[in-house]
Amino acid sequence: MSIDKTKYDALVVGGGIAGQEAALSLADMDYKVLLVEKDLSIGGKMIHLSKVFPTLDCAACITTPKMSETARHPNINLLLNTNILEIEKDNGIFSIALTIRPKYVKEDLCTGCQLCEWVCPVIVDDGFNNNMVGRKAISIAFNLANPKVAAIDMNHCIKCKKCEIACVPKAIDYSMQPQNISIETKTVIISTGFNLFKPENKPQYGYGKYPNVIDAMQMDRLIAPTRPYNSVVRPGDGKIPDKIAYVLCTGSRDTSIENAIGCSVDCANNPICSQICCMYSIKQAQLLMGALPLADITIYYMDIRAFGKGYEEFYQQAKGMGVSFIKGKIAKITQKDHNSGDLILRYEDVTTGTLKEAKHDLVVLSVGVLPNNEIAKVFTNQKLELDDQRFIKQVDELLSPSLTSIEGVFVAGTAAGPKDIPDSILSAGSAASEAASYINNI
């Protein structure tokens, strides 16, 4: 890129679908954009998904072209594995301090051939696959990563030098150091996305204790074409499941959570609805019906919130395919016995008003959307306000949905509240429009 690498019109924080869309929209309007992503690749949650409701198109088919467009747009500069340390506003200009964490692989030399990965003997959890499988200490974040560059997990690397020897272009460099840089920008777009509810915080559901209780992101991985296993099987013992349950509203519409792990009680209790779990569960149920034609699938729900364009039709289609829907709240999940790994769900069937039990061999917790608001802390001389649910606050929700409490800072996608992909994309487009109008009138 031939532009000044320290001065930008817009800084986009977070390279999920919302961040990419915002960056591309602004870049297409000829603004110079810096996109900063904390992970090794752009793509966000969406690149993890299998197919997406309501059209059931393949998530990768939709995301990867957008990722490569983002990566090669002449007006976009991309920084990966990068943290934002400080944002300070002076005279209408934002000064940003950043640190690029080392990958221990020289980006410009690495060709993404994965020879290093094949020879590395150290096995670590594969975060991309929600730790359901392992990967090597040096690896490419995932097959469709963009940019496609290897990185070493230094916490586990034993410096055996096998990768260094295998790498033909000599891209490995164990001595790389973090690199601190600073830039200036006229606007900031926050598209840092959301966190998933940690199902350990509902101990009565047995997640983490029973291996065949998984969360929905794990299920999306299991049915994705780039899945960790060769088929849809239980992580507990490789069995092909034939009686699968979905527990909707896990960690949503719920203020009964005690002793939350990893965060204060406030941030685990979540009175609001996550807006996506009903639909992604119905989606997964439809995909599972295709992958495992013999399996029974039951969805335990409070209300089915199929509200978007084509969603109600999608819900009715799932009913037509034979997915069972039971209005009932799950009280407790226990393992029948260690050997079978099967699970007993105790629930109140609302329609009949009775307490019931059902046996399933795989349980999927449809976990909800929690705010990811860490970014608010890096603003030094301004306050980025949060709303009551601790999402980034929209100060004029009706007429200027992306305005925040700081002039020149805009919010896009799920950083402002739960959203599905179509809504995240629209909110990013709208943030780009507001940011561009703002820059044009500074």
Partner: protein, 142 residues
């Protein structure tokens, strides 16, 4: 040529944005398929001309496989229908030239459909091996 050593030559028409990336994935993951499979990528599978398919048979390909986008096509919601018309059209021409209509196939492949692609190639190769090489087929018919 005996069926054992016969490795049918397959021409695959893929699409730039969807199925060709899927075929790339197969290579990336070193999922092997027959080296007599050759790929030409186009914007949309509905743009394949039957005369190209006939050219492939004339040049010695034993089969033609269309890796279409199905309903993921970003150009036309009727893409599958159009591609099908092209196949029907080609099959007419193939019959006139004594070419078995089974020598053309279509399937929808997406950008991560690496395994399905490999298995399609395996199955198609099998079918074509049973049919034998195109040369012998046309020769027999004459």
């Amino acid at each position: 040529m005996s069926t054992e050593t016969f490795s049918p030559k397959i021409l695959v028409f893929s699409t730039d944005k969807i199925s060709d990336p899927g075929i790339d994935q197969a290579g990336l993951r070193k999922l092997h398929y027959s080296p007599s499979v050759y790929v030409i990528s186009l914007p949309c599978s509905s743009g394949i001309k039957p005369r190209w398919i006939m050219r492939a048979f004339k040049q010695g390909f034993d089969g033609v496989f269309i890796a279409a986008d199905g309903h993921e096509c970003s150009y036309s919601p009727k893409c599958a229908e159009h591609t099908n018309t092209i196949i029907v059209e080609s099959q007419k021409m193939m019959k006139e030239n004594n070419i078995n209509p089974k020598r053309i196939r279509m399937a929808a492949l997406c950008s991560v459909c690496a395994e399905p692609f490999v298995s399609h190639m395996g199955n198609f190769s099998k079918i074509l091996s049973e049919l034998g090489s195109l040369e012998t087929e046309v020769y027999k018919a004459q």
